[in-house]
């Protein structure tokens, strides 16, 4: 790239323009404008960065690097465990990629009208899936949502303990631990893990009862759980929490809500979960996003750390617009006195999710839920039939299930290597995080897996175990 050229991203990178601006200000050089910065703060050499590339060179460079990836499109993947493959309609991609909102910033309700309405529709549609009236703009991940919800519960109850299911994504738990502060801190929230029944994967109710006390701010569990199981003791768990004066926080994957009950209907107070399954690609993990929702009561509303979008009348009779609600209680409004903090989140995925939910409609969610159930259960049955392979919790799961290979004498790592050589990505290896499950893997089967995909997996496993 020649130095004399103006840069395509910088309209004022033309020397004559800069000269005119300098003359207008009345200084000779740009350097004079930096007198604020003492010389001993300065870097005394140019940055040593790789050479600048033209767009063509950049494209070729990056495409060349990306070609080293081998993806779930080229391979048959059964990975889930926190981010899942579902069909993303092309119209969703078209909508979310529109330059208008890609390049927007917070303006006025009148100038941001379209984007604000789209965000409001995200909250509104998610509210229908959840049967809840208060839904916030998304947070950065399910873990982040769960962490914030536990802090909300601690503030709501003035207590400093939470009971959390043991069968939880270790990454999510790690995020939660960071939200709960280390024991050295004054406001540390202690985490009490609640065991699961090794036979069913469901919560050990005795352990739960022991864990929930008058120090418990919240009980947190998930439907389906990390190990895939649909926790059908949900109402009882919520009742135990309520009896102890604790909040019930439930984590859900909303793509299940066409067939699974909405958490509020079995007693949840706060509901959190992912929005990735609502029309967002994997993006190497960059597709994650979370939500927090509750009943529309001031007690809850006042504790949210998030932004809200409220519909409101405008000054023109009969007209409505959309604006930020309860902004003052955020960290933008109150700095360290606000609720936790807010900031850049994943609001583009709210656009994707609202388009997705609108395309799905009630029937779409019902159908996708049923199809996932059928395909996942069929896969589990087929794999169970392979010598040495066992499905640990063979019933009552949604789209993920634990497959145990102990009787094959092979490790999950070895099996997955062999599958990968056949163009298949096996399930997430659980042996490190859940040693009690032995050599097990978490398999994810969704609506995108056809019968022949499942048979291909079974065939390949038959060969490699």
């Amino acid at each position: 790239m020649r130095n004399v050229s103006a840069h395509p991203y910088m309209a004022n990178s033309v020397p004559e323009i800069q000269q005119a601006m300098l003359e207008s200000i009345g200084v000779d050089t740009v350097e004079e404008l930096f007198v604020q910065i003492p010389q001993d703060h300065r870097l005394t050499r140019p940055l040593d960065l790789p050479p600048a590339l033209s767009e063509r060179e950049l494209r070729r460079h990056v495409v060349g690097i990306l070609a080293k990836n081998s993806t779930t499109e080229d391979n048959l993947s059964f990975l889930g465990a926190g981010i899942w493959q579902h069909h993303v309609p092309a119209a969703v991609d078209e909508i979310v990629r529109r330059n208008e909102w890609l390049t927007s910033i917070f303006g006025e309700p009148s100038s941001d009208h379209g984007r604000n309405q789209a965000w409001f529709e995200f909250c509104s549609q998610l509210g229908e899936l959840l049967n809840l009236d208060l839904v916030a703009l998304p947070v950065r991940s399910w873990g982040s949502a769960a962490g914030h919800a536990m802090r909300m519960a601690a503030r709501l109850t003035g207590r400093n303990e939470v009971a959390i299911v043991r069968a939880i994504d270790p990454q999510r738990l790690s995020v939660i631990r960071n939200y709960c502060e280390p024991p050295e801190m004054a406001n540390h929230i202690a985490i009490r893990l609640v065991a699961y029944d090794p036979a069913t994967g469901l919560i050990d109710m005795d352990d739960l009862r022991a864990a929930v006390t008058d120090r418990t701010a919240a009980v947190y569990f998930e439907v389906p759980s990390y190990l895939g199981v649909v926790e059908h003791q949900a109402a009882e768990i919520a009742a135990i929490a309520r009896a102890a004066g604790a909040e019930t926080i439930v984590g859900v994957d909303p793509i299940s809500l066409g067939v699974l009950a909405a958490p509020v209907d079995y007693g949840a107070d706060l509901v959190v979960g992912t929005i990735q399954t609502l029309g967002v690609h994997l993006h190497a993990g960059g597709g994650v996003g979370g939500f927090i929702a509750s009943r529309d009561e001031p007690r809850y509303a006042e504790q949210y750390p998030t932004l809200f979008i409220s519909i409101a009348e405008t000054l023109e009779p009969g007209e409505h617009g959309f604006g930020l609600g309860l902004f003052h209680q955020t960290s933008y409004g109150l700095r360290d006195k606000g609720n936790d903090w807010t900031g850049h989140s994943v609001y583009m995925w709210a656009i994707a999710a609202t388009a997705y939910m609108a395309m799905m409609g009630p029937q779409g969610f019902a159908e996708v839920g049923k199809l996932i159930l059928q395909r996942a259960h069929h896969a589990a049955q087929l794999l169970s039939g392979i010598k040495g392979v066992r499905v640990t919790f063979p019933s009552g799961f949604f789209k993920e299930f634990v497959v145990n290979f102990d009787d094959t004498g092979k490790s999950v790592a070895d099996i997955n290597d062999a599958l990968r050589a056949r163009g298949i990505f096996g399930g997430k290896d659980l042996s490190g995080d859940f040693p009690e499950l032995g050599q097990s893997a978490l398999y994810c089967v969704t609506e995108i897996h056809t019968l022949s995909d499942i048979e291909r997996l079974a065939g390949a496993l038959n060969e490699v175990v």
């Binding site: 840069h7 991203y9 309209a11 800069q18 740009v30 930096f34 001993d40 300065r42 960065l49 600048a52 590339l53 990306l66 070609a67 990836n69 993806t71 779930t72 993947s77 309609p89 991609d93 990629r97 208008e100 303006g107 006025e108 309700p109 009208h113 984007r115 309405q117 789209a118 409001f120 529709e121 509104s124 509210g127 899936l129 009236d133 839904v135 991940s141 960071n178 280390p182 801190m185 949900a234 809500l257 009950a261 909405a262 994997l282 993006h283 960059g286 405008t314 930020l324 933008y332 700095r335 360290d336 900031g343 994943v346 583009m348 409609g361 259960h377 990505f425 997430k428 056809t450 019968l451």
Partner: protein
């Protein structure tokens, strides 16, 4: 505005997306899907979602996108460094090689993604002088929280965390710093500004003690003021046993001019979604707060880290002192890719020039803006040039005409100017506004911004009701004050709205322009 809310659209039975029926063989073996769900957990009701065809949904959202002004006109939103979001970066980031990559895939199958992350790490190391970056944080605030977590882990490793429970910041530092410090369990001490526009060294000295865990500061701050005593600040904090974190949100004014490391900072944070050209998406993200630190702090970083070994990249999970996860997986890798593409297109010289142009543009605008009736500047006695932005006030205009900064902002949108940024709380200055010229817009655009404000000032002094009743050309008018907060009226969902109010609509001609249909 007459685009209905989506719940008002559609017709029962319409479908926007179909799924294949389960194959016969599968149906036979599995039977009714609902039977597979424990009965207590079966959904009984049907969610009240709209029922629409695909094109109905598509065009609804295309129309809404058009009713979003964004950068369609001119957007100079202070502290957000409105940059061009290159289309090549979007095109690359949306290739299936990345969108369809699962983060738990075997390292062998994601060498491309890891290489991008590593390459960006190396670029940021050079720009900051730090020894290691991590990209897990999904935005600047989360990077500030990462910083707090690392600060906790560092002091905990030395047995000092209970004692060192204070974090010092300044009132002109972005609120994410005090708020994450508070949420992380620290007490927050906020230093106020003196007449130079930054806190005095004495106020820092008075705040520092053996309880000090760290300072967290912007520099330049959100008013465009650079604190020339920062090296001394860091020295004082270090001497007291604290750490120094540099929130480089306002890097545009200093990039390539100075590095956090040379000032003495232990850690810093870059916003890849503003400084490095990735889109902001309505202050919405997905975004990336790239957090970097010295080798001394690196053991505490969130895991995993991407490590290069020869020509291969691997994920290093074996980090016993790590704070663990701030957010699941590796961060927004697609944003890292966009930032990497931007950095490679700019190069060292382009980055240096962007900084020059930003500061030049801001000072150029200052001359024009201060010539407008009713406009004053913060800290009028601090005569040195501001860096990439300047904080102004319309206090005079408000006193003389009754027109406030929001009136002006709304009126400016009628001319295709995306609303100005006022200030973060607290409003240190009455009726503040803070444009940031950045390096993307040409001189004509800056001139138009100034000319529009000048015209609105004229209107404020001659026909203030035009300004007060604005906007006149947007998709909607201003909201009734208080409606979005009042518990009896606010409605964050359509469900809530239905319960709280009733509305009517009719067939009328489209009333007025969307905000996006006008030129710069």
């Amino acid at each position: 505005w007459n685009e209905p809310v989506i719940h008002e659209m559609g017709h029962p039975g319409r479908r926007g997306v179909l799924f294949p029926q389960a194959e016969d063989a599968l149906q036979e073996r599995i039977g009714d899907a609902v039977e597979l769900i424990p009965s207590a957990l079966r959904r009984k009701d049907k969610p009240a979602l709209p029922e629409m065809s695909e094109p109905e949904v598509l065009y609804h959202y295309l129309r809404l996108s058009q009713q979003t002004l964004g950068m369609m006109g001119i957007s100079l939103f202070g502290t957000c460094t409105m940059k061009y979001n290159p289309q090549i970066n979007e095109a690359l980031a949306w290739r299936p090689e990345l969108t369809e990559l699962h983060p738990l895939q075997h390292e062998d199958t994601m060498q491309g993604a890891l290489e991008i992350v590593h390459n960006m790490d190396m670029i940021l190391r050079e720009i900051s002088g730090m020894d290691q970056f991590v990209f897990q944080a999904g935005g600047g605030a989360e990077a500030a929280f990462t910083s707090c977590a690392v600060i906790r882990a560092y002091h905990a490793s030395r047995g000092e965390l209970e004692q060192r429970n204070e974090i010092i910041t300044t009132i002109a530092t972005h609120p994410c710093n005090p708020s994450t410090a508070d949420a992380a369990g620290f007490k927050v001490i906020t230093l106020m500004l003196d007449e130079n526009g930054y806190p005095s060294l004495d106020s820092l000295k008075a705040a520092v003690s053996d309880r000090t865990a760290a300072i967290m500061v912007n520099n330049p701050d959100d008013m465009g003021v650079y604190n020339p005593e920062m090296k001394e600040w860091v020295r004082i904090v270090h001497e007291a046993g604290g750490l120094a974190f540099y929130d480089a949100a306002n890097l545009n004014g200093t990039m390539s001019k100075l590095r956090a490391r040379e000032i003495g900072f232990d850690a810093c944070m870059f916003m890849l979604h503003k400084t490095f050209g990735a889109p902001k998406s309505g202050v919405g993200g997905p975004a990336t707060g790239a957090y970097g630190c010295t080798a001394a702090l690196a053991p505490f970083l969130p895991a995993p880290l991407v490590k290069r070994e020869g020509d291969r990249y691997r994920l290093d999970h074996d980090r016993p002192q790590s704070v663990g996860k701030i957010r699941e997986f590796l961060g927004n890798v697609q944003v890292v890719l966009k930032a990497y593409a931007w950095a490679r297109t700019m190069g060292a010289e382009g980055i240096a020039q962007a900084s020059d142009i930003s500061v030049l543009g801001n000072n150029y605008m200052e001359k024009g803006l201060l010539a407008i009736r009713g406009v004053t500047r913060s800290h009028p006695d601090a005569k040195l040039p501001r860096l990439e932005m300047t904080r102004y006030s319309l206090e005079t205009m408000k006193e003389e005409t009754g027109v406030n900064v929001h009136d002006v902002s709304n009126r400016m949108t009628d001319f295709g100017i995306d609303p100005l940024w006022t200030s973060h709380e607290p409003w240190l200055l009455p009726e503040p506004f803070t444009p940031e010229a950045g390096e993307m817009y040409g001189k004509e655009a800056l001139d138009r911004w100034i000319a529009v404000l000048a015209r609105v000032s004229d209107e404020a002094y001659s026909t203030p009701e035009i300004v007060k009743n604005s906007p006149h050309n947007q998709a909607t008018h201003r909201l009734k004050p208080g409606e979005t907060d009042d518990p009896s009226i606010r409605a964050m969902t359509w469900r809530a709205f239905q319960k709280k109010r009733v509305r009517t609509e009719g067939v009328e001609p489209s009333r007025r322009t969307g905000p996006t249909c006008r030129s710069a």
